[in-house]
Subunit: 412 residues, 4 copies
């Protein structure tokens, strides 16, 4: 009988290398190693050989960057999602894509399970597994870090290194950093280690070495730089007049934001699994895109559509954060969000300067802003009659007057 | 028979000076001039004499700054209100206080009407009049700018100046600025004139002369400054360890923010009366307070309380913006907001640098963040069993699996 | 020069007959009379002659019943809209359709204005005029009842009758009823007159003569009747197994509901123009459809989609009630609602008995209810492991424990 | 060393009798049996003796009915909570009270754990345990049905009976019913067994034997009965003019509702643990109270307060259903709800007839309904000027016109 197959999300690092071997032995299975290129810019060269040397029967290394930008980052940014008022969801939005691709590979290869190296305390395990549940309820998910046997065998890093040496797994003896990180096209996140103390100041000059995508505002150029983003129906389609794919937009904005010290966030956040944790993020391009999108909306989006959408941002962001990207309620919300973007087209001009994203003008062929109506000068269009405000206010005031009258007569 | 009395919101400027006289003649009434000191820092000296000289029968000049900070700004900041994702509601929150005091004066003086100089196109008229409706439904509100007769008599500034000269109204021959502004303890706003073109860039160096409360980020000091804010139940009670009243907190933060180029916003916003308009704001202290408050909450506020409150921010902000401060639905929302702040106490450390408000640490005796639980290291408290995540994920995934299975069987 | 043209919503009653004539004279215009058949079942015979005799230059009598059911009633029922927990929006949903058709006729005829006979106190004027604004901002709307001149000329019914006689307008000398009513395919509404006293009991036997679409529960048959409704993607497509058009479904359900005393509502409601009013409604078919739809959803709709949609029902209902059917925020909400209905298909069995709509079974080929999972007996599918609940509860409890611990240590 | 103590929620039935013994042996602990009287009307006589005979070291039988009505049912009914549009949360609202009392007893007795007999598939386990987490994070909760050892020992009812006989546990040899049920002051629920088929019709005459609190509409009296409920600040304080405690109100309304066939619900609902299940409920008094409360609100509650509160009903109901009664987000919502009830006072008259709760009049000394304003007749109060509607509509229409104009020019 053929051995069962397991698709493993593999990075080539110590953890997933050990897991690859451990899975192969524990389950007596063929392990298909899968690495998604979602813009992490880590060395992908040699990864295939390494996986094979570690025992993988087959290796997939897939460039998902354009799909990531187009089908995940862009729809999310249409919503204006910001988790707990601060976090642009850089890690959250990547997980469903990776899990989706793993499911696809599992289907293609006839694998019965997928496996990941996320821990039992974080959000990523949830995001992977909810995606798998939504897309392939029949496929098993293996999370070794939640296995008591695995945790017993590997109580610490030392045991993993010993296991790797014993099994001839090639691992780099890199010095461990006092924090963990996760990088993709949208952001890089830092957590754990020294960051666990919320009074610790990661913005202090001595911690500048941690950051990878941006300089600090202090180190950014002394001269501001202007940039123009063109939007069509809520999506950025050009930068400085040059039409770009979603991937190219993100790369261009990352470069600009990083150069000008834009997009660092330091926060305590609430994980889906129930505890607070401290995270530091660099999201240079996303921060520019977020600001530009809101400014584009301000000129072109109907007021009540905006207020309705805004009332649902917290919900949308929580769904993405918690891993419900492929859940039907996210799809329902997305239908509303996409409908809301029909008219969000035009050009936003921004000034980038030492951490600041400063609005410097917005225009649109479908602008809903009519200076003739808003002006305090004489209105050439006659579209607004000041006398109308009297009736408007009176009818808005009516219920307040009635309530107030009742209250006064009760007290009197 | 005694003449009727009208309480007029009086600033000493051309408009309200002309209105004072016009009201007196049109209604054959005694005019009680009222000026609220809400931190506008304009010259209040000589205002009483001027009002009397213009024809007022009595003058009130009331210092409402502490009440403004304590009973209006502070409760609003508890909510995290931000109108359309950008505006800290500096003008909106001041109007109900002014109108409330006018109603109180009207009651004390036996006046039957109050009057204001707000135009028929803006939000302020609504805020004044909804407040009056909620507090004194029996008192009439007179809005000369919505009177056709008044507008016919004063089609432009020239006619007002002529009227003032004719009636011996003392007006200063100040050069008119190419925009209008409104200032108080929380902010200053600019609109109209050159700002009516949304492509106009108010952040350009040549427009620096417009700003009054802050330097530009470019002109701010090259050296960052740290500040610590202490919160109790959602309110800032001390700065850098010094206990301060709400007014003193706002003044201190305005000074700090202004010095470091913090709190400028340039936006297109949606007025309650139905049109979009362009506004530029300086809110130096409020911007610091807003950021600090969110960081304080991140450490001390329960996750689901935060998500619930966040889902209502857009609603709360719209109520304040539209002038419904004294409406029962704002009071109901405030009850929820205040309840949500019970545990929001501790200290936030911020780094102020060229327009940036950077988190630099947060701590609290009632912190809900437990590094022992969140840590990726061994958890000494044993409060979290990674195995629990398996059941947690499985039950969260259950409905997704069932849905997915149904869909697959339908397609299959 | 050609006379201007005005399209008038014309019913043939006293009010719109007088208005027809009055408009023709006041505006020196051609009046195009328009009557929509939306199921009001009033005499449409002779209406064309009557309109022409009254002075209309042209008459449109359009059967909009199928469009009303398909494009208005059905999408609204997908949302589960219920205004203020009680009202099925029978009048509200009809107005946008009528106004839309008037705009179409105005376009076709080159008319520059449309006119209606709704009063200045009700919701209908708003619904007509917001629809016109959204579809044809260039077309003027004339509302004679809000004209001071018109109200001065017609302070009461007597003056209208005199005017009609004077101008040879044919009016029936019907005895005036002590209430007003409005009927269409979805419902009939009653208000005013004796109903203005909220302590008045319209359900008393002596008031039975008012009702037109239903018998009282007391007078309904002593024997229950079962009915089966088949749904596809949220819409009822068959009754008792017979495939029917939306119009035919509504007619069939109206017959059944009316026979069994179903769908009467007596309520005090809040009008958009600011006051409370008392309304009595008969919605026999709609009440059955509403109950059936919810039951169909309960079996086939994902939990979180339902909870999300439910949180927006109050908003959706208010938009329809206030007349914002063609506003972009209703369209955005509809996108979410329609997406939520993708799986709402199956059969609902109901028992109709003396005012009650009693669930008597529901089934679906895409049911999300799996008795194997829910059963307290042994689960043959093994889809649910009771042990999973432990982790699920523990992680849901985690934040509560942390909060509680902090609170206890603070108190202790 | 003293044995540990465990407080067990004990009913005297087979399950909790076996669990009592099993816990005592498994944990070598003292078992304190606790039974809450929350209106289940089951035989409480002899329960103490039975518990002691089964091995309990101590027995608490506490009458919590008044507290249940006053501090749980009443605050919840203020919110208008209805889970998934149908369920009045009769079981959900009782669990937190029981768990709270268990925690109190555990504290008083120095017990370190509490235990319950709820299964691993239902909501009740969650409600018990979240309450314990919120009130006593240090106290362990034991849920034998989620223990693999327990389930292995008791795979079915036969093994439990054998175990009981072996240990001399007194159990009644009652015939097992083909469904399970749970009763308290607010309702009785039925589920499982024959009800697991959603096409099964529990309203059929042959199933009438299942119901305990109400007759069917068919069997209800042929003559309607009127009842008047008096409300103060959202709570019912008198029935038919007689002042009653919350408990007495519930009992009186249960009697009336049961007599007239009111309050049966048959639904498929979504459990917190992830699956759909079918439940049948009788809530006779609650159904009357719910309808009366809404009618009282309709006359006395401000429109926008109602719409705000209504938008949160789904959230509130879900919190109660899921067991988050003592969670801070429920408390925050309750603050809003209680504030919303300040003016909800007056008298509601209802007609009860064969399953129907028919409004028959409502009045209040603080009514916000003013017939003088709403009337279509001449308004003696002059509080409403029909001309005001013109401005009101125009400004509400302004954004629609602008949008529409932009769209037309784009298409044109």
């Amino acid at each position: 009988m053929a051995k069962p197959k397991i698709v493993l999300a593999y990075s080539g690092g110590l953890d997933t290398s050990v897991i690859l071997k451990w899975l192969k032995e524990t389950y007596d299975a063929e392990i298909i190693a899968f690495t998604a290129d979602i813009g992490q810019k880590e060395e992908l060269d040699g990864l295939e050989e390494k996986a094979l040397a570690t025992g993988a029967s087959k290796v997939y290394i897939d460039d998902l960057r354009e799909e990531f930008a187009k089908d995940f980052i862009y729809p999310m940014f249409q919503s204006g999602a910001l988790y707990e008022g601060q976090y642009l969801l850089g890690t959250s939005i990547a997980r469903p894509l990776i899990a989706k691709r793993m499911v696809d590979i599992a289907r293609a290869e006839g694998a019965t399970a997928i496996a990941h190296g996320a821990t039992g305390k974080g959000n990523d395990q949830v995001r992977f597994e909810l995606t798998a549940a939504a897309l392939a309820p029949d496929i098993e998910v293996i999370a070794p870090w939640r296995s008591e046997a695995f945790r017993a065998e590997f109580p610490g890093r030392a045991e993993m290194i010993a296991y790797a040496e014993k099994h001839g797994i090639p691992v780099q003896a890199s010095a461990s950093k006092p924090y963990s990180m996760d990088r993709n096209l949208l952001h890089i996140s830092f957590e754990s280690g020294m960051l666990e103390d919320p009074w610790f100041d990661p913005s202090a000059e001595e911690n500048e070495g941690m950051y990878m995508l941006s300089v600090s505002p202090e180190r950014a150029p002394d001269r501001a730089e202007y940039v123009e983003l063109t939007f069509e129906q809520g999506d950025c389609v050009a930068v400085n007049g040059e039409t770009l794919s979603p991937l190219a937009v993100m790369e261009k904005l990352n470069e600009l934001g990083g150069k000008h010290g834009i997009g660092r966030v330091d926060m305590v956040e609430n994980r889906f699994v129930g505890m607070k944790s401290r995270g530091v993020y660099e999201t240079p391009g996303g921060t520019i895109l977020f600001a530009a999108h809101r400014k584009m909306e301000s000129l072109t989006m109907d007021r009540d559509v905006m207020h309705l959408r805004d009332s649902l941002i917290a919900k949308y962001a929580t769904l993405v954060y918690n891993g419900f990207w492929f859940a039907p309620e996210r799809l329902a919300l997305q239908a509303l969000v996409s409908e809301s973007q029909k008219n969000v087209s035009g050009v936003v001009r921004l000034k980038l300067y030492k951490g600041n994203v400063i609005g410097a003008g917005v225009k649109s062929p479908v602008s809903l802003y009519n200076p003739d109506i808003a002006t305090m000068e004489a209105d050439p269009s006659q579209a607004y009659d000041q006398g109308d405000a009297t009736g408007f206010i009176r009818l808005n005031a009516l219920r307040l007057k009635v309530s107030s009258g009742v209250e006064q007569s009760r007290k009197g």
